[in-house]
């Protein structure tokens, strides 16, 4: 029986693959995506996120106290490479793989597999080969350069690390944007003297990472629970909906605060916490979609063939109901970024790494009001959230048949 079911499943997948090859770029999701991204709003959003992703990946190249390349006694070396961490290397390799995969036309799960393998491989290799020095002395380069030890130096565009407080120059501290004569701080410095722009560049990693991972976790939980609710309906649906209601009844921020109070504050804990407090919305969407789909012939056919549950749910139903979830995910990333920023702003976020919310918090904590400390990180949060909201809006318009009908 089981064998037979698998054979049938293999056959259906084969048929499906042939179909999908014929309709290569004409799947519903692709259609929706194409339609959404013809709008300027969505394009702007996509552009900003891509820019942010590039900034996040190349952060050590963009803002670093370690020079990119120096020539010392006719020996060329790169202090920046020496100080790069395993995480930096993994990010770089994953980014490059993604860019390459964008141009290769293979099935989505193969792409995901390649990406995963590349990430793990780089992590393992980097773990064996890379060992950044524990102690970082930022002023050694400035001292050496002042002493004329270098023949030539190539600095990063922003030649300050996020935690470089520039102690060697003595008079550092709070400075307005471009307010100091000897150094260039495009966005000024915070109270300890470190460069605001550099901190923002490195914090973009946290914002992007939290957004994607937390939303991914929330989507996974939401799709599984919502899918089961929608497919089985009846008693499962009722119990599930009560669960959703319970999680929605407690304001998310209070739930987050409760979690933060009782667990430790690391980046990963934060991702998980934001993920498991924001799944009910996705569950609702998936449930609604699946309730609609379960009556349709192809699902009944799949059930009649005796396909296993996971195959019906994820291979047959999910691709047909993914569009509304894409919309929700787009808004969800925005709210996850906001949630992290809020927690950091309230002083309940990451302890030592700068994040945009934590920088806003710094602006509040200082005794005087320094607009650049609030305006730039806050503006970055705003632009990122705005970008995701624009994309969500465009996607929603693209999947809404009502609007299309009325527009014509």
């Amino acid at each position: 029986m089981n064998n037979k079911a698998e054979a049938v499943e293999a056959e259906t997948t084969q048929a499906e693959m042939q179909l999908s090859e014929r309709a290569a770029n004409r799947s519903y999701a692709a259609q929706v995506l194409r339609e959404a991204f013809t709008q300027w709003g969505a394009r702007f959003g996509l552009f900003w996120i891509a820019l942010l992703a590039a900034v996040a990946v190349f952060a050590p190249f963009l803002a670093n106290s370690h020079p990119l390349l120096v020539s010392e006694g006719s020996v060329v070396s790169s202090p920046m490479l020496r100080y790069m961490t395993i995480g930096d290397f993994v990010m770089l390799s994953v980014f490059i793989t993604v860019v390459i995969l964008l141009f290769i036309n293979i099935r989505f799960y193969k792409k995901a597999l390649i990406l995963f393998v590349m990430g793990t491989l780089t992590a393992i290799i980097a773990f064996m080969l890379v060992s950044p020095p524990q102690l970082t002395v930022y002023d050694q380069y400035r001292a050496k350069q002042a002493a004329g030890d270098y023949e030539w130096v190539i600095h990063a565009p922003v030649p300050y690390s996020p935690k470089d407080y520039i102690r060697d120059e003595g008079d550092t501290g709070l400075e307005k944007p471009l307010g100091s004569e000897s150094r260039t701080h495009w966005f000024g410095t915070e109270e300890n003297g470190s460069d605001v722009l550099s901190r923002m560049i490195h914090a973009s990693r946290i914002a992007l990472g939290i957004g994607f991972v937390a939303t991914g976790i929330a989507m996974l939980i939401g799709i599984i629970i919502g899918g089961l609710m929608g497919f089985f309906s009846g008693i499962v649906d009722m119990v599930g909906m009560r669960l959703v209601e319970i999680f929605e009844a407690v304001p998310t921020l209070f739930l987050l605060l409760t979690f933060v109070a009782f667990f430790d504050r690391s980046l990963y804990a934060m991702m998980v916490i934001i993920g498991i407090t924001s799944w009910p919305g996705y569950a609702r969407f998936v449930r609604a979609e699946f309730l609609r789909l379960r009556q349709q012939e192809f699902v009944q056919a799949a059930t009649a063939c005796g396909l296993p549950l996971r195959s019906i749910l994820f291979r047959h139903m999910l691709p047909n109901g993914i569009a509304p979830i894409l919309v929700a995910a787009s808004f969800g990333v925005a709210s996850a970024i906001l949630a992290e920023a809020t927690l950091s702003f309230l002083g309940l976020g990451l302890v030592d790494d700068p994040s945009w919310g934590q920088m806003l918090n710094q602006a509040v904590q200082s005794s005087t009001f320094n607009w650049w400390m609030a305006f730039f990180p806050g503006g970055a949060i705003f632009l990122t959230v705005f970008a995701y909201n624009l994309m969500g809006e465009a996607l929603r318009d693209a999947i809404d048949p009502n609007l299309k009908k009325s527009a014509s």
Binding site: R242, L243, E245, I246, F247, E248, A249, V250, P251, T252, L253, F254, L255, L257, T258, F259, V260, A261, F262, F263, D264, A334, L338, A341, T342, F345, L346, G347, L348, G357, L360, A363, V364, T368, F369, W371, A374, F375, G378, G379, I381, F382, V385, F386, N389, L390, E393, N402, S406
Partner: protein
């Protein structure tokens, strides 16, 4: 309702119990350097509340029994000695404040509710005013403009607005127009409720000033010719911007004058430019009243006691502003979609066909039906506002429930954290209930019998 409430308590308790080390670990571990008696007291306290030697489900039941207003009563040896309907709920004691949690929450909830009760009507009025207009004038400049602006407003984080507002408008570095923190000045607590003038003539003068301001502006807003309207408003904005730059403490550069003048001129011209008469009337009228009042107080401020009410409103302006804009931005978009959908519906066409005027179609037929999604959303608006008040209260140092929650989390005062989560859940459920009742009011097809 009741199952959801029970569910909330289970979630809250599960979070607490799944923390590394169990319910009381952190408090007990951090109490390591307490004196032996104090530590004993702490242990006894937790034991009495939860029964630390029992398994987690039993601990949950004990906690539930403590929290619920009816339940079993216990004697000193933790044996059940009766069942009472009036035992009252015991939310435990806060260690940080050394007081029962119930008392603390009773103090703080009204403040948070005050903020929300002011915000919600504001949100709805603005959202409906702009959303309906955008829907009826679909595709025109007002619709497009308001859509972009609302999406932008919706994305501005409350923290940014709060920090910028408090930084620019209530610090000595820029304009010190609003108070920095709290909900009332110390001395205002002793004042009478309403403002008080030493002479009646002053009151008349105030009315005169604001009435003249309002009348001038209303007249201007009703002006038909667009160039005149925009020009006058632009000039007014320019003057105000320059005055604002002049009010900056210290030496303000040419850039400040130019920037502020241009910004305010642009804003005012934009207000004058819109072809939405009602919006223009209200906004420009308020500008007129505000200008008149400010002028009055610039010349005559003796013999005036502002009273508790005015002081409270003065403190509330910035927090309420922060709390509302996200909500109305969201609701405006929703209103627009709902009204648009109903305007294109068959029944609206039928109404038009039988000769009902467009105004009646909109307000008697379409609007009533468009209210339904708005009411549905109001249920989720309340949790959002409660969450938003956490940020707003912490920025403006208002002693509401949100600030209490943050203090509790920072001090790891778990009784307080749990009770606050519970109370906010209950408040949200009450919001759901009210939304359901409103639903029945707006839609006669819905009945709950």
């Amino acid at each position: 309702m009741i199952p959801t409430l029970l569910g909330i308590t289970i979630v809250v308790f599960a979070v607490m119990a799944s923390a590394p080390g169990g319910i009381s670990s952190q408090s007990l571990v951090e109490g390591q350097n307490l004196e032996p008696q104090a530590k004993k007291a702490l242990e006894d306290y937790y034991n009495r509340l939860y029964g630390l030697d029992s398994p987690a489900p039993v601990q949950y039941l004990r906690w539930l029994n403590n929290v619920s207003p009816i339940g079993f009563t216990f004697d000193e040896n933790r044996e059940i000695n009766g069942f009472s309907f009036f035992k009252g709920s015991d939310l435990g004691d806060s260690f940080r404040y050394g007081r029962p949690v119930m008392e603390l929450i009773k103090e703080r909830v009204p403040i948070t509710l005050l903020l929300n009760v002011i915000s919600i009507p504001l949100i709805y009025v603005i959202a409906i005013a702009i959303g309906v207009r955008a829907a009826t004038h679909r595709g025109q400049s007002f619709d497009v403009g308001s859509s972009v602006v609302m999406l932008g407003l919706w994305s501005v984080p409350t923290m940014l607005t709060g920090v910028m507002l408090i930084g620019f408008f209530s610090s000595d570095q820029y304009w010190h127009w609003f108070p920095t923190s709290g909900l009332s000045q110390r001395e205002a607590l002793d004042m009478a409720f309403l403002p008080y003038w030493s002479s009646f003539v002053d009151v008349l003068w105030l009315f005169l000033y604001s009435a003249v301001g309002a009348m001038l502006m209303v007249g201007l807003s009703r002006l038909e010719s667009l160039p005149w309207r925009c020009g006058a408003m632009g000039a007014l904005g320019l003057v105000m911007g320059i005055l604002m730059a002049d009010a900056l403490p210290g030496e303000s550069g040419v850039v400040a004058y130019l920037l502020l003048g241009a910004a305010l001129a642009l804003l005012f011209t934009l207000i004058a430019y819109t072809d939405y008469l009602a919006l223009r009337l209200v906004v420009m009228g308020s500008i007129g009243v505000a200008t008149g009042t400010v002028l009055f107080f610039m010349f005559q401020s003796e013999g005036f006691v502002r009273g508790f009410f005015l002081d409270r409103s003065w403190h509330l302006i910035l927090p309420v502003l922060c709390l509302t804009y996200g909500g109305f931005a969201f609701l405006t978009k929703l209103t627009r979609t709902a009204v648009l959908e109903n305007l294109l519906a068959d029944y609206a066409r039928t109404a038009r066909a039988k000769g009902v005027s467009e105004k009646d179609v909109l307000w008697r037929h379409v609007f009533r039906n468009s209210l339904l999604p708005l009411i549905t959303v109001s249920a989720t608006l309340l949790p959002g506002l409660l969450g938003g008040s956490v940020i707003v209260e912490s920025i403006f140092s208002i002693d509401g429930m949100g600030k209490l929650a943050i203090e509790a989390v920072k001090a790891r005062d778990r009784e307080l954290v749990l009770s606050i989560t519970l109370i906010s859940g209950v408040l949200t459920l009450v919001g759901y209930l009210i939304a359901d009742l409103c639903y029945a009011l707006a839609d006669p097809r819905v009945s709950y019998d």
